[in-house]
């Protein structure tokens, strides 16, 4: 009997021993179940991080693990271990400016943007008037952040119910004077991303479409070419939100529509003009039109010399009555005069005005404010059509956060398309001073508003910061395909964005918002639980053994084994 029992026990222990690895495995598995069960996860978009010739700009950090704080804390409090949440609605720009200029430390900055500014949000007119003030403020904020060296992570997010609730809670706590720290609990904001890395060799991609004209019989001279150019990439405070509906989505849309109109005209041999048309979508616009420069230099010398003139389209989506023609040659230059007259005649017929603006090129200055200046530097006549009255500064007016779909009117783009197409057609077919409408609204050559709208919608949802676009980005493929449909020959050119800019990745992340308990609370809970267990213990001892036993437990502790938890 005893032997049997022993052997049984041995069997049991054998079984146990064989289970150990299994048990260990299970324990490891359980420990590995790492939890990301935050109550709320919010998409956040990081402020751009870049260097210009090694000088750092933008947000220099990306990961975040701090308590939330709002602006209603007492001034002068130490915020080096908290994330400041700033809704754009209540943004105090002066405070932020001081904070950054004094180089005070901050755990992080989360800027909440109104939902109406979300790319792809196609709102009505009432929304537009409401957001007008935001846009101005946002532009100033962006200028501050983009041109500053900010030694903490800065993220943008869109307001929603959860962030509103969190903000209300945080404000309430801050107003009470309880700063969010480990001892008071509150909200903890966690973004776990790896350190931002340099983008190794950013590429810029230019897309070129070629629509050949027809030569008259017996004419062996090369045909002159007219180039229509628009830069399609953007730059903004948050690269993942930089959609640039107006700058320069509107220009791209106008170019595609002009290409479509002329492809219809040129498909018929009878209406094929004596000019070649060259359409180019260039990249690198915000960086002194580096893509345009590279594309021009890569063009065949003869081809470049055959360019009669080039029209650059830049920000043509939100003007009312006057469009500007920016040139760099003096206005009394014969070619410029001819181009401008062509535009102003057509504009007169269409019922609006164009004005000429002249800005000299300063060769010693590396800044190229307008795309046509790259042409002018290579002695090609060019002009930029734009609604912008002044030349934009470096990295500005290139797709900022406020530049969203609502700001752009389809009608403005359609008017711009008509202006360009009509004046080109009059020039090509030699009807300069005649009042004819080739692209009349109800003809087969009318501008297609649906086409304009759908392309504008697409571009308004696609962030297009060149260093973050791969060579085979869907958008680039789509643009290429569209040009292939309209022109005879399309070529795509990949160039590396060398120059002075360095970019860093991690533009988008997920923010986990945890509602955390404080250490004080945990200690208090432990105290409560401990006293509960002690009371329970005493109660049980008294009811089952009597009071004397309880007292004797404490009187002679070493003599008795007491298991206390």
């Amino acid at each position: 009997m005893a032997d049997e029992k022993k052997s049984k026990q041995r069997d049991g222990s054998m079984v146990f021993e064989s289970m150990y690895p299994l048990l260990a495995l299970m324990l490891i598995l359980v420990a590995c179940v790492d939890l990301c069960d935050a109550a709320t996860v919010v998409d956040v978009y990081r402020l751009v991080q870049y260097d210009i010739s090694g000088v750092p700009f933008g947000s220099r950090f990306s990961s975040l693990n701090h308590h939330a704080a709002s602006l209603s804390f007492q001034r002068g409090a130490d915020l080096s271990r908290s994330v400041l949440i700033l809704p754009l609605r209540e943004l105090d720009l002066g405070f932020l400016q001081d904070y950054i200029s004094q180089k005070q430390s901050l755990g992080g900055l989360l800027i909440l943007l109104p939902q109406t500014l979300r790319p792809g949000n196609i709102g009505g007119g009432s929304v537009l008037s409401e957001t007008q003030g935001f846009r101005k403020l946002l532009a100033q904020l962006e200028k501050l952040l983009v041109h500053g060296n900010i030694p903490f992570p800065v993220y943008f997010a869109f307001e929603n119910e959860e962030t509103d609730a969190m903000l209300a809670d945080v404000k309430k706590n801050d107003a009470l004077g309880q700063q969010a720290t480990a001892t008071t609990g509150g909200y903890k904001l966690v973004i776990s991303v790896s350190e931002p890395r340099k983008i190794a060799s950013p590429t810029i991609t230019n897309i070129q479409g070629w629509l050949p004209g027809s030569r008259a019989e017996g004419d062996s001279n090369q045909l002159p070419t007219i180039a229509i150019v628009a830069s399609y990439d953007t730059f903004g405070a948050a690269p993942a939100l930089s959609v640039g509906s107006d700058s320069n989505g509107s220009g791209v849309v106008a170019l595609l529509e002009v290409a479509r109109l002329f492809s219809t005209l040129y498909s018929n041999p009878k209406t094929r003009g004596r000019y070649n048309l060259l359409f180019a979508l260039t990249s690198g616009g915000p960086y002194n039109y580096e893509g345009t420069q590279k594309w021009l230099k890569s063009l065949d010398q003869r081809m470049r010399e055959s360019i009669d003139y080039a029209i650059c389209l830049n920000s043509v989506g939100s003007w009312d009555n006057e469009l500007l023609v920016h040139v760099s040659k003096p206005p009394d230059n014969a070619y410029i005069k001819q181009i401008f007259e062509g535009f102003s005649n057509v504009a007169e017929d269409l019922g609006f005005q164009v004005a000429l603006k002249h800005k000299k090129i300063n060769i010693s200055n590396s800044r190229v404010a307008w795309e046509h200046e790259q042409f002018s530097r290579l002695r090609v006549t060019a002009a930029t059509l734009s609604e912008l009255p002044t030349p934009p500064e470096l990295l500005e007016s290139a797709g900022s956060l406020s530049d969203t779909r609502q700001l752009v009117h389809d009608d403005a783009i359609i008017k711009g398309v008509k202006l360009v197409a009509e004046s080109l057609a009059r020039h090509i077919y030699g009807h300069q001073r005649k009042d004819i409408k080739i692209f009349a609204d109800d003809s087969s050559l009318a501008v297609n508003p649906f086409n304009v709208r759908s392309w504008l919608d697409l571009l308004s949802q696609t962030p297009r910061v060149a260093p973050f676009l791969s060579k085979s980005e869907p958008l680039i493929m789509a643009l290429k395909k569209e040009l292939e449909d309209y022109t005879a020959e399309v070529s795509v050119q990949h160039e590396s964005l060398d120059g002075i800019f360095t970019f860093y990745d991690s533009t988008k992340a997920s923010l986990n918002i945890y509602q955390v308990a404080s250490v004080t609370f945990d200690l208090l809970l432990l105290l409560v639980l401990g006293s509960y267990l002690i009371v329970l213990f005493s109660f049980l001892v008294i009811t089952t053994r009597g009071v004397d036993d309880l007292i004797s437990l404490f009187r002679r502790p070493p003599s008795r084994k007491v298991k206390m938890v």
Partner: protein, 237 residues
């Protein structure tokens, strides 16, 4: 400080079992073996229950299983079935109390030891994994504290049920008038899981309210069981 919270919740969930064992005479008579046996029986019972649930509970294949969207009749029949399966617990408890041989242990201690082992196994099986996974997260919720309180209520329920069970099955000479009351109380305690699930799903009670209800009823049931036990003990004395 999340490990701290986990520690707190674990104390609340499993502490009372240990305290109960060490404070009552159970520790003096070394009844740990009985408790362990009861826990093993609990495991076996849980397995049988799972098999029964999987076999008999109908989950309609056409629609997603969602108790909220079930028809009233379907819900009721399913719940009734679940309650029936819940009585397997009682059978397991009977087996642990009556069939297992317990070496020289008084009836008084036996039911306590069995109830304790049973409740502890239940807590470990149902609450340890969620606690480990959940309470270590950064996010703070009251859920795990409430779950710990629920474990306390469950301990009281199980010991009460075991007491009533020992009255029903092990004590022969009990007053006739008390028998219906004993059986009624036992049925109420045995259907407690169904009652709470009914409160939660049909009445739409929230977790804190349900736990409060459980705590209250557990105290009431414990009091009643205690009185019954004392009343039954009197004639034998």
């Amino acid at each position: 400080m999340t490990l701290f919270h986990f520690f707190n919740c674990a104390i609340l969930t499993f502490g009372p079992h240990a305290v109960y064992y060490s404070a009552t005479p159970l520790s003096e008579y070394d009844t740990l073996g009985t408790s362990v046996k009861a826990a093993v029986v609990y495991l076996a019972t849980a397995l049988v229950k799972l098999v029964c649930l999987a076999t008999f509970l109908q989950v309609s294949e056409t629609e997603v299983f969602d108790p909220y969207q079930m028809t009233k009749y379907g819900f009721q029949s399913q719940e009734a079935l679940k309650a029936m399966i819940g009585f397997i617990d009682v059978a397991g408890l009977y087996f642990a109390l009556a069939q297992l041989t317990h070496r020289n242990i008084s009836q008084n201690h036996k039911f306590q030891a069995v109830g304790l082992g049973w409740a502890f196994a239940d807590s470990v099986l149902h609450r340890l994994a969620p606690l480990w996974v959940g309470a270590r997260g950064l996010e703070f919720t009251w859920d795990y504290v409430l779950q710990g309180l629920e474990a306390n209520a469950n301990l009281v329920f199980t010991i009460s049920l075991a007491a009533l069970g020992s009255l029903m099955w092990l004590r022969k000479n009990k007053p006739k008038t008390l028998i219906p009351i004993i059986y009624t109380c036992a049925v109420i305690i045995a259907t407690m899981p169904s009652i709470t699930s009914y409160l939660r799903r049909v009445m739409g009670w929230h977790f804190p309210k349900v736990v409060g209800f459980e705590l209250m009823t557990s105290l009431v049931m414990a009091f009643i069981s205690c009185q019954l036990f004392i009343l039954c003990q009197r004639p034998s004395l």
